[in-house]
Amino acid sequence: MSLLLFDILLCGLLLALALASMLSRQLSHAVILYIAFGLLMALCWARLAAPDLALAEAAIGAGLTGALCFTALARQGQLALSPVLSWQQRCWPALFVVVTFCGLLLALLQLPAQPGPLPALVVQNLTASGVSHPVTAVLLNYRSWDTLLELLVLLLALIGTLQISPAAVLHRSWGLSRSWSRLLAPLIILLAGYLLWAGASQPGGAFQAGALLAAGAVVLKLNQQLDWLAWRNIWVRFFAVAGLTVFTLSVLTVFFLAEAGSEPLWLRWPPELAKYIILLIEVFATLAIAIILTLLVVAEQPQTALSLARADKTEDIDG
């Protein structure tokens, strides 16, 4: 009874926060409400017995996206000057959300109520997957294609962002926030390492660990620390791409080194090596995800001949 009450309260709060975030007059209020929405969403996933999703939602949905929105707001000079949105401006995103929601609801109603044969198959083949946590087995063995494409999408998003991100607004940071972020850094590295390692047998894994590392790095970067963590650093570029590269290379290696007798298959790990391949991929994926997410939030446009910021500057000089 009390749990039912809690669930009803949670759903009601989620809906209220979503509506308030969509309809709020100030963009900064909308962002704060959205962060609260992300935290409650994580609680929802935890109630639905999906701790993997809850971890990812708390780290990415509530933490990193909030920081991303705030830094984006800080970089928008014009919007920050006139932050109050008109009625029409607030209604268009709400309309978009309602249409998407109706589409999702229609798709959801067509799903069968009973679970399909897949969960049983996953558990049945778990011993051959190299890990003992079903979610990790799905993400990095049965459906590793999805994870590979996710890494690619993240990298593409970063490359796109680097082209258009306006110059960062530098604020003087207080000694207190600097020392606090420095104090948190080892704790975050420890937790991320634990999450990465725990992913084999419990909820956790590359995405959660990477998001946590990125959150720590963003806090440090916003306090003007970690100067080396920028796109101009060749090692940062290397590790940002390495997640995808290591994944692709291991796929190719397994494909070409497959035994002559067995038919080689794309994205299939041999059971005796699966554990090590997954670990290798996850370590590099964690680093890549951490770097990409950090740079998405605090990226500075590289000074190349083609960058837009530079074009603007030269135009200013010409004019």
């Binding site: 207190l176 926030s177 606090w180």
Partner: protein
Amino acid sequence: MSNGEELGLFSLVISSGLLITGLLFFIAGSVGMLRFPDSFSRLHAVTKADSLGLGSVIAGLMFYCNWWQNLLMLLIWLLVLASGTVSCQLLARFCKTKQDQP
């Protein structure tokens, strides 16, 4: 142990008292955040009440868990305490600089 029936009456009373005290602190903090006039008093209401409220809730929950879970909860409380204090200070400083500027 998931229900209070395995606890003695004395522990049950103490843990319930602590839990209720914690919840009262949370309610007081929320009311303070909604009702107080300026940012500083609101910050005061939220962070002070919540640090103590969470401490009481955790102390109340400690009667139901084993020592390992208790240790974890204690660590979580310390972390929340520290981060709450630091963010309160940072927000207050931000408000102060905003106030002094114009």
